[in-house]
């Protein structure tokens, strides 16, 4: 409601007297301003105020979309990865990081989206796509998970094998195999490896590589295939070779030999050199052979004199562990080759932290003046030469 009397003089002689564009009501008698209007009716929206979409954010989203297209994933995964990238990009942990880290972040968003929507993929695939340092990718991935509070399910190796065989393996015709048979055989080998403590704690890709290589050899164990080394196989299939795969092949062959020895119709000794020919049989009758092998091993252990029954002292723990490794058919390498823990020094049993420290003890840590002079001289001579 507009006031009709002036607050200064009490007069009612008030007129409308605008000051430029601002409407004002002024008292004629004393000249005081009774009321005034707003300067402008709408807020001004100029180019300085409007926010342009961030170019790097758009580039990152396009990058994650490109990766999704290369991996040929579902539309939902593409959208989810872009959403996550958007969220992560604007989070304080990632807003001011380098562009390289933002690229890695895009890769991690694709990885986590695939995992959440049950599309089997390993981190190694993403590493290949973005060509970044594995440590950096790991770091960014962990940070992103904790920042966005995502709980991604763990991918099982057996799920990944099929996609790896279909997408990454490109065998020429003379070496080709039916991908279904290859997958079936490789999955069975990985399951056997998992039961024999070969998979746990190891990176999945070298295990997959070893399993696929052995599966390929065993499906048609011709002389040519048996002579093909892992390196040659990787060259033929156009995949990168992983050095640990060689060790995995040896370990899987060892596990296969333990089962191969139990096949009743095989007369000759089963060694890592000839075990590949028996792989199909071993995998077909895996469980029966495993039971037989465990029984044989148990009989063997019971026959040898029991050396772990009575032993005291600090080495007891190590001996118990060593025997654990010998008692079972399959044990992890850290148990079979257990490290000896260093023996605790008995003199430090009653340490309280507040004992007397004798001078003679401390003197052993200090050079005599002559020794110090000799040392300084030797250093000078060393520096000069």
């Amino acid at each position: 409601m507009l006031s009709q009397t002036c607050q200064g003089c009490g007069g009612s002689n008030i007129v409308e007297d605008d000051l430029y564009c601002q409407p004002q009501r002024v008292c004629v008698d004393c000249g005081s301003v009774v009321s005034e209007g707003v300067l402008a009716s709408e807020p001004v929206v100029g180019p300085a105020v409007a926010k342009k979409p961030c170019l790097n954010l758009i580039k990152g989203e396009m990058f994650s979309l490109t990766m999704c297209r290369i991996l040929m994933v579902h539309r939902e995964i593409e959208q989810l990865s872009q959403t996550y990238y958007n969220k992560a990009y604007q989070h304080e942990s990632f807003l001011k990081v380098s562009l390289q880290k933002k690229e890695v972040l895009a890769g991690c968003c694709v990885l986590v989206s695939c995992r959440l929507l049950n599309w089997p993929i390993t981190m190694a695939t993403i590493l290949c796509l973005i060509n970044a340092d594995p440590t950096l990718v790991g770091e960014v991935y962990q940070e992103m998970i904790s920042a966005l509070k995502i709980e991604a399910p763990i991918v099982l190796i057996t799920d990944v094998i099929e996609t790896h065989i279909q997408d990454s393996l490109h065998l020429p015709e003379e070496f080709a195999e039916n991908s279904k048979d290859l997958t079936r055989c490789a999955v069975a080998l990985v399951e056997l490896a998992a039961d024999s403590w070969i998979v746990t704690g190891r990176k999945p890709v070298p295990i997959i590589m070893a399993a696929v290589y052995l599966a390929w050899q065993s499906l048609r164990p011709t002389k040519q295939r048996l002579k093909t080394s892992l390196e040659k196989f990787c060259q033929i299939a156009k995949v990168n070779k992983y050095r640990p795969a060689v060790k995995r092949i040896a370990e899987i062959k060892e596990a296969l030999c333990k089962l191969g020895k139990e096949i009743p119709w095989v007369r000759e000794a089963v060694t890592p050199d000839n075990v590949v020919q028996h792989v199909e049989d071993i995998l077909q009758h895996r469980y029966a052979l495993l039971r037989r092998a465990m029984r044989t091993h148990q009989d063997l252990v019971e026959q040898t004199p029991n050396s772990s029954s009575v032993k005291h002292g600090p080495h007891e723990r190590n001996d118990v562990e060593l025997n654990w490794g010998k008692r079972v058919l399959f044990a992890p390498p850290c148990v079979i080759r257990a490290k000896r823990r260093r023996v605790e020094q008995p003199e430090l049993q009653d340490v309280t932290g507040d004992e007397e420290i004798s001078d003679s003890e401390i003197d052993s840590y200090i050079r005599t003046p002559q020794e110090a002079r000799d040392f300084a001289l030797t250093q000078k001579m060393f520096e000069k030469s």
Binding site: T122, M123, A124, G138, Y141, Q142, I145, K149, E151, I154, D195, S196, W197, T200, G201, R202, K203, P204, M294, R317, E321, W324, R327, V328, L329, F330, P332, C334, V335, R341, E344, E347, L348, Q349, D350, V351, T352, G353, D354, E355, I357, D359, E361, I362, D363, S364, Y365, I366, R367, A372, F375, A376
Partner: protein, 202 residues
């Protein structure tokens, strides 16, 4: 072996449950402690007149190794010293005091102050193997497991400021601010691991 729980022979036991008489050995493998000498230290003098020292001028510190207790100390010219390698908190204190005495004898006006144990690392072995995937599923988001990055599952207890790394063989490493927290952390995590055990013999 040792009678009292936190005996200086640096192992701790606890009963796994009332029915099981076996105790679990928690072996402290490293204790990191810091203290201050409240005076400036001339690193060149220490490098010249001390034995068992390594001078690193590029970093600005001197490494001094004590034989008894077996401790390595990083000495900075500001007077801050970090001791690592002790196997108990008391041993760390003894080593730190021995080092301070050594510096005193070298001629510095050392006053042993602000001794604080910063980190304790312990290892423990469960009598069973652990199924890490089940363990992670049951304890999300406190537990995390990325087999492609690290072979162990990590379990962080915020209240104790302790981090536990669980390996599938049943080995467990614990880091925490002191021995008490480390032992409590093992006590807390044991039932969770017991739930997710997998038979050792296959």
């Amino acid at each position: 072996m040792c009678e009292s729980p936190w005996s200086p022979c640096c192992t701790a036991h606890f009963l796994m449950d009332s029915s099981n008489e076996e105790a679990l050995d928690i072996i402290v493998t490293n204790v990191v402690a810091t203290f201050r000498t409240r005076c400036h230290l001339n690193l060149r003098t220490i490098a010249l007149e001390g034995t068992n020292v390594i001078y690193k001028p590029e970093v600005g510190k001197v490494l001094m190794k004590l034989r008894k207790p077996k401790i390595t100390a990083s000495i900075w010219s500001s007077g801050k010293i970090i001791c690592t390698g002790a196997t108990s908190e008391d041993e760390a204190k003894l080593g730190a005091r021995r080092l301070a005495r050594c510096l005193q004898k070298l001629g510095f006006k050392v006053r042993f102050s602000a001794f604080r144990v910063v980190n304790v690392l312990a290892v423990c072995s469960m009598p069973f193997a652990v199924h890490l995937i089940d363990f992670t599923k049951n304890n999300r988001p406190i537990a995390s497991y990325e087999p492609e990055l690290h072979p162990a599952a990590t379990y962080r207890i915020k209240t104790l400021k302790a981090t536990i790394q669980v390996f599938s063989t049943g080995s467990v490493t614990v880091t925490g601010p002191n021995v008490q927290n480390v032992a409590t952390a093992v006590e807390q995590v044991y039932p969770l691991l017991f739930e997710c055990q997998k038979p050792l013999c296959k």
